[in-house]
């Protein structure tokens, strides 16, 4: 991989040399300023790309602004990093909030988008913040207090189940941990483990523990404990209690056979085939499992149950950002505001089957429950925001989570191991 970054650098230098041959620095004249460049995280045949494409077309017709779009796919970030170092920077880029924008914002490479949040959505008489994205602004604000992204797609996390097979749960989904475990006990008596997790993905194991810990200690507590260089925050007896709940699930055989000995997506396929009842997952779960679930499967979901306190919905956001060195940031901002129009943005729900940040756009049926929860409950970031700590999940938390959830260690030993790994982790940062 080092090699490919080198190649990119060499390529970047070559580009710089070539452009240097073309004469002095180009001064944008009026005709040039009527266009901007957009690097998309979608491939051209993806539904999101189709929605964006028609929005770009209609935006072009209405404003006269030409958008040069490149459908980069998920590798957009790998291409963006060397471009930021030197070379032509796109004016508009979209990506997963934490994955791309948080590190770039921390490096001071992103434009402050407060202006977009305050801008009018064309023809609606309300600002971008007011129509919906305002609710998520806090989740995409950097350490400097300035928002670095405007979301157009909201991913929510919760427990998915088949409403057609479980009409009783659909009628009254469990809200508290006690209600949830009572349901689990009832289902387990049927002869199979009711919970499904693709345990080979460390982050999927970690999701269970992050939710258990934050439900017991409050949202933000996980990030705080993870950021503690002495790791003493994990000594809180509530942590042990939260991990004890996970231990009970592990030792009680609540996870369906194969959860910790398969290759993703084997276990979620099993769940879709009806061999397990609950899957803790993001709102992409329906589209990933649709083929095995079949037409009779009714996707229903509820947020992670509460433990003595309130519930919140864990979310992760996909949206637009603008690099600081962009040449035409105003035009890009204009397009972001345009894309927030109700009739434009509704394509993300209707065609791309995802939740939008606008509560007045009906969410697609398979994720409607979580969309409804989003409109009534507070939001909390994916991984409690601790995914911004470089490799923390991979090196510290996920290995422990996998061991605990698969029943290899007890809760008390998991705390010890977590503290040990975390102290070592922080000792080598900086």
């Amino acid at each position: 991989m080092i090699n490919s970054s080198r190649t990119a650098l060499v390529g970047g230098v070559a580009l710089l040399l070539l452009s240097a041959c073309g004469g002095g620095p180009a001064t944008p004249d009026a005709s040039e300023a009527k266009s901007f460049t957009y690097w998309s995280m979608w491939e051209e045949n993806e539904p999101q790309a189709q929605v964006l494409k028609s929005a770009l077309d209609s935006f072009g017709k209405e404003s006269g602004v030409q958008v040069k779009v490149e459908w980069q796919g998920r590798k957009v970030q790998q291409k963006l990093t060397p471009a930021l170092r030197g070379g032509d920077v796109p004016d508009l880029v979209d990506q997963d909030g934490n994955k791309t924008w948080a590190p770039l914002a921390a490096a001071g490479q992103t434009r402050d988008l407060s202006g977009v949040y305050a801008a009018q959505v064309p023809g609606e008489g309300r600002t971008v913040a007011e129509v919906g994205p305002g609710k998520y602004q806090e989740l995409v604000t950097g350490a400097d207090g300035k928002p670095y992204m405007v979301p157009y797609e909201v991913i929510a996390f919760g427990l998915f189940y088949n409403g057609a097979a479980h009409p009783d749960i659909a009628a009254k989904p469990p809200v508290t941990w006690e209600e949830f475990t009572a349901t689990l006990d009832r289902l387990k008596a049927g002869g199979h483990g009711p919970l499904a997790v693709d345990g080979d993905i460390g982050d999927y194991d970690a999701m269970w523990l992050v939710d258990l810990i934050t439900r017991e200690l409050g949202d933000g507590s996980f990030l705080k404990a993870a950021s503690d260089k002495s790791a003493a925050a994990w000594d809180d007896p509530k942590v042990l209690s939260a991990l004890g709940r996970a231990e009970k699930l592990a030792k009680g055989g609540y996870f369906v056979d194969g959860s910790f000995g398969s290759k993703f997506p084997a276990v979620q396929e099993k769940w879709a085939a009806g061999k397990a009842d609950f899957l803790l997952m993001g709102t992409w779960a329906p589209s990933e499992t649709q083929k095995s679930a079949g037409p009779a499967f009714a996707y229903r979901s509820f947020p992670f149950p509460s433990v003595g306190g309130a519930q919140s919905v864990r979310t992760s956001l996909i949206g637009f950002g603008i690099p600081k060195r962009a040449a035409h940031p105003e035009l890009a901002e204009k397009f972001i505001a345009y894309f927030m129009k109700k009739d434009v943005l509704s394509g993300i729900s209707a065609k791309a089957l995802n939740i939008t940040p606008r509560p007045d756009i009906a969410a697609p049926e398979p994720v409607a429950d979580l969309a409804k929860a989003l409109s009534t409950m507070p939001t909390a970031p994916w991984f409690d925001g601790a995914d911004g700590l470089p490799n923390y999940s991979v090196e510290v938390f996920s290995p422990v989570a996998t061991k605990l959830l698969s029943g290899k260690v007890a809760a008390a030993d998991a705390v010890k191991e977590l503290k040990d790994l975390q102290v070592k982790y922080w000792a080598k940062q900086g």
């Binding site: 991989m1 080092i2 090699n3 970054s5 080198r6 060499v10 970030q77 790998q78 990093t81 060397p82 930021l84 170092r85 934490n98 994955k99 948080a102 590190p103 770039l104 490096a107 001071g108 490479q109 345990g199 080979d200 993905i201 460390g202 982050d203 056979d257 194969g258 910790f260 000995g261 398969s262 290759k263 993703f264 084997a266 995914d387 911004g388 470089p390 490799n391 999940s393 991979v394 090196e395 996920s398 290995p399 996998t402 698969s406 070592k424 000792a427 080598k428």
Partner: protein, 285 residues
């Protein structure tokens, strides 16, 4: 004269020597790939020595290099000996070589299907009455990676060694048979000395390629988005994990370069040692 060498030399310098020198330079800094580099001196290297994740990855690299090498070459020799007089050896050789031409990613998928809880291996074990089969992927991930890599590579070295063995005139072996030499004596006094140059070259090829192993571990232990658990990383995975890997990439280019340079030094030392140990007069025959 040098004019003829110049084009090759230039390309070599630009694409290999230059970047290598640049890695050494970058390894002395903290650098996220975007901002300014911050000089750290030997800081990255002293950190590597204390980083348990790196030490584990480095250890795994050595296990694959040395342990994997011993197993691959033992198997290759055994198969070469067994195949030498076998009818239909060309077919068998092709079958053995097959895993080498299939993309490691495809093999890792196949390997996953074989060993997962409901996979073929456990079904087979259940068929012969094993009620409680091991949790292969959960408890023995590195062992499976090791076995998979041996399986993929053995065919390649069998092919190379057989090419060497095929050059040995038959009458030497007939002479061995007449004199009552055991299979081991035949290997020790005939096959090895007469294929020594082939063996030595193969050993260097294995050393270099084993340090570059990446795709199989990544695809077998992780997913498109997720890195495998750190206890199965080798140095190549470590470098990836510190730069572009994972859901939130780390972009620690200075630190990653330091680990790359450390790995490069390991290759150099090993190749030099191997050349030294395997240096002997070529037997003319």
């Amino acid at each position: 004269m040098w004019v003829f060498v110049a084009p090759a030399l230039l390309l070599y310098a630009v694409f290999l020597l230059g970047p290598t020198a640049a890695s050494v330079w970058v390894s002395l800094h903290a650098w996220d790939g975007i901002g300014e580099m911050r000089f750290k001196g030997a800081g990255n290297y002293t950190l590597l020595l204390r980083d348990e994740v790196f030490l584990k990855a480095f250890g795994n690299t050595l296990v694959l290099l040395v342990g994997g090498g011993v197993v691959v070459f033992t198997l290759s020799f055994a198969l070469t000996m067994a195949l030498r007089d076998m009818p239909g050896k060309r077919t068998v050789r092709s079958v053995l070589f097959f895993p080498n031409i299939v993309a490691p990613v495809v093999l890792s998928v196949l390997w996953g299907f074989l060993f997962q809880t409901d996979g073929l291996v456990n079904s087979g074990l259940a068929g012969v009455g094993v009620d409680d089969p091991p949790n292969w992927l959960g408890d023995h991930l590195f062992g499976l990676i090791f076995a998979g890599l041996v399986w993929m590579n053995t065919g390649f070295y069998v092919t190379i060694l057989m090419a060497g063995v095929d050059r040995i005139p038959r009458y030497f072996y007939e002479d061995c048979a007449l004199n009552g030499a055991t299979a081991f004596q035949r290997l020790r006094h005939l096959t090895l000395p007469l294929t020594w140059d082939v063996v030595a070259t193969s050993a260097v090829i294995w050393t270099v390629s084993s340090l570059k192993i990446f795709e199989f571990i990544y695809a077998f232990g992780g997913t498109a988005n997720d890195l495998p658990p750190p206890d199965v990383w080798n140095s190549a995975l470590f470098i990836f994990g510190k730069t572009f890997g994972g859901r939130v990439p780390q972009y620690a280019f200075g630190y990653a370069s330091a680990s790359a340079v450390a790995t490069l030094l390991l290759i150099v030392v090993f190749v030099l040692l191997l050349r030294r140990v395997t240096r002997r007069e070529r037997v003319q025959f």
